[in-house]
């Protein structure tokens, strides 16, 4: 039995539910929108740790009976039925309590969890991930983080002297649209004095999104002239083109090592292959919206995910 936790109509969750149904894998869906009708009770047992039961409209689940859980929970503060409530409103406090207990169990459960909430925090800092990416033998783009306008402009000149542009983007996990540094940015460069900002040498080549599921790897090649292919239509006037691709074995192993190092059995790794096919790694998404890639390429990511959670596919 596996648990699928999230909003069932959201494409990645919907695909996982459908894959479990097609494979005949026993599954129960915790619909996060039904948090008010849900209850979790945990017990702490000496020498054993936490055990518990989750009760929701889909049924009552003995958490110890689960082989795995797919976790794609939205931030409970923004659930529509509590988002408008005061911070100390009882309904909001109860929702916070329910999610805290669920996270507690997911963080320590012996089952296969994709992914533990605590492990998903690694993308609060791209440069934190960078240190782990390097340890796994993957190259990173030349990067500076600075609050000094002169250093930023020096870096831009340094990169341009070898024909490369510079992009800037958030260091944190807050989503930002990657932008190429332009002349108009010089006029507002002084604003970085308020907060260190990340600048990166723009790597020429094409993007590859790698999804790691356990020890399986699914790679998608992305062709786009946009700086950020997720916004290809608005940045370049045409959609990105996606196709399945295969990676050299050593690169697959490096991606698996990276996902393991971050304790992310399900990960979306952003690579760019340079014009000489050398991979450069940007970041690792701990809760990948894989449906975008699966729907355009047909690669069976959801099938692999539910298979791994049900323990029908060996980790070895």
């Amino acid at each position: 039995m596996i648990l699928i936790a999230g909003i069932p109509s959201e494409p990645p969750v919907a695909l996982a539910i459908e894959a479990a149904r097609q494979r005949g894998i026993g599954h129960v869906v915790f619909d996060q929108r039904h948090h008010r009708e849900s209850e979790i009770v945990l017990s702490l047992e000496p020498a054993v740790g936490l055990r518990g039961r989750l009760t929701c409209p889909a049924g009552e689940i003995d958490l110890a009976a689960l082989t795995g859980a797919y976790v794609r929970l939205m931030d409970e503060r923004f659930l529509p039925d509590v988002a408008g409530e005061a911070a100390d409103a009882p309904a909001r406090a109860r929702s916070t309590g329910l999610h805290a207990l669920l996270h507690d169990w997911l963080n320590v459960a012996g089952a296969r969890i994709a992914n533990r909430p605590s492990s998903m925090l690694s993308n609060v800092s791209k440069t934190y991930q960078t240190s782990i990416i390097r340890r796994c033998g993957l190259a990173i783009p030349e990067t500076i983080v600075t609050n000094d306008p002169e250093e930023a402009l020096r870096f831009v000149s340094h990169c341009r002297s070898t024909g490369d542009d510079v992009i800037y983007k958030s260091v944190s996990g807050i989503r930002s649209i990657v932008q190429t540094f332009s002349e108009s940015d010089r006029e507002r460069i002084g604003r970085i004095r308020w907060c260190p900002t990340q600048f990166q040498r723009k790597v020429r080549g094409h993007d590859v999104r790698v999804h790691v599921v356990g020890r399986r790897v699914f790679a998608t090649r992305i062709e786009s002239s946009a700086t950020d292919y997720r916004y290809a239509q608005s940045q370049s006037g045409s959609d990105a083109q996606l196709s399945p691709t295969t990676l050299p074995r050593w690169l697959e192993r490096a991606c698996i090592d990276l996902a393991n190092s971050l304790d992310l059995p399900f990960a979306g790794i952003d690579l760019r292959l340079t014009e000489t096919d050398d991979p450069v790694c940007f970041e690792v998404n701990p809760c990948p919206a894989y449906s975008y890639y699966e729907s355009r390429t047909g690669v069976p990511i959801a099938d692999a995910l539910v298979g791994w959670l049900a323990d029908t596919e060996s980790l070895a």
Partner: protein
């Protein structure tokens, strides 16, 4: 130089500085979060093979990494007063960026670091009370049976019977009052599950039995005394 990243009123940090100065032939400097964040110039450069950073502090001092012999990391909060005039959404964004930058910098250091940062807490791993109790139970430390439900989420604390005791685990070595070998092994296992190099473990001792109460990656150096300072000194002089 050894840098102690700590608030100016952190008495434990000030005490540790005085102790390390007595033992190590190295300067030991308290660097407050405000000194770091309000640096005139900050530069962290990362490539595939190296990482280097430079903070030109407002008082004229320059902090460079590599170049430090070690860091005691007690960065539990960051100053954001300079962002007070910004709109809430901009302020939250800038605070997240600041946290992300410092997390990335601390994680890139190759000098001895107590403790290395964790995404949830710059000063090292932090876990909920319930997760800590789970780790304690798995480690074999004594824990009280508890039932926790949504409407009563906190497990009841142990009854205040017995003596409160603190132990410290640093790189697999237990520091503190004498323990049975089984309890010592349990504390070592607990520290591994907790995930930090240096962990403080609080228990209540009653008739030779230690009942787990709490743990933290931000430790009370004075409670660890000379033995803890010696162990920390060894980390920085190795």
């Amino acid at each position: 130089m050894i840098a102690i990243l700590a608030e100016p009123a952190d008495l434990g940090a000030l005490w540790l500085r005085s102790q390390l100065l007595r033992r190590l032939a190295l300067p030991v400097e308290i660097v407050t979060p405000a000194r770091l964040v309000y640096s005139r110039s900050i530069l962290h450069r990362l490539t595939s093979t190296e990482s280097e950073a430079r903070f030109e502090l407002a008082d004229g001092m320059t902090l460079r990494t590599p170049g430090l012999c070690g860091i005691v990391n007690r960065l539990t909060s960051l100053p954001t007063a300079h962002l007070a005039g910004a709109a809430a959404v901009e302020r939250d964004y800038a605070a997240a960026e600041l946290h992300a930058f410092l997390l990335g910098w601390l994680a890139s250091l190759d000098c001895p670091l107590l403790n290395p940062p964790a995404p949830e807490n710059l000063a090292g791993p932090s876990h909920s009370n319930l997760s800590a109790l789970h780790f304690a139970a798995l480690s074999g430390l004594s824990c009280r049976r508890a039932i926790i439900a949504v409407d009563a989420p906190q497990p009841p604390p142990p009854a205040p019977v017995g003596t409160a005791v603190r132990h410290f685990v640093l790189d697999g070595q237990v520091i503190g009052p004498p323990l049975s070998s089984a309890t010592r092994d349990s504390m070592i296992l607990f520290a591994r599950l907790w995930g930090a190099r240096l962990v403080q473990i609080e228990t209540i001792r009653d008739r030779g039995r230690h009942e787990f109460v709490a743990a933290s990656s931000v430790v009370d150096f004075q409670a660890g005394g000379e033995a803890l300072v010696r162990a920390i000194g060894r980390v920085f002089s190795s």
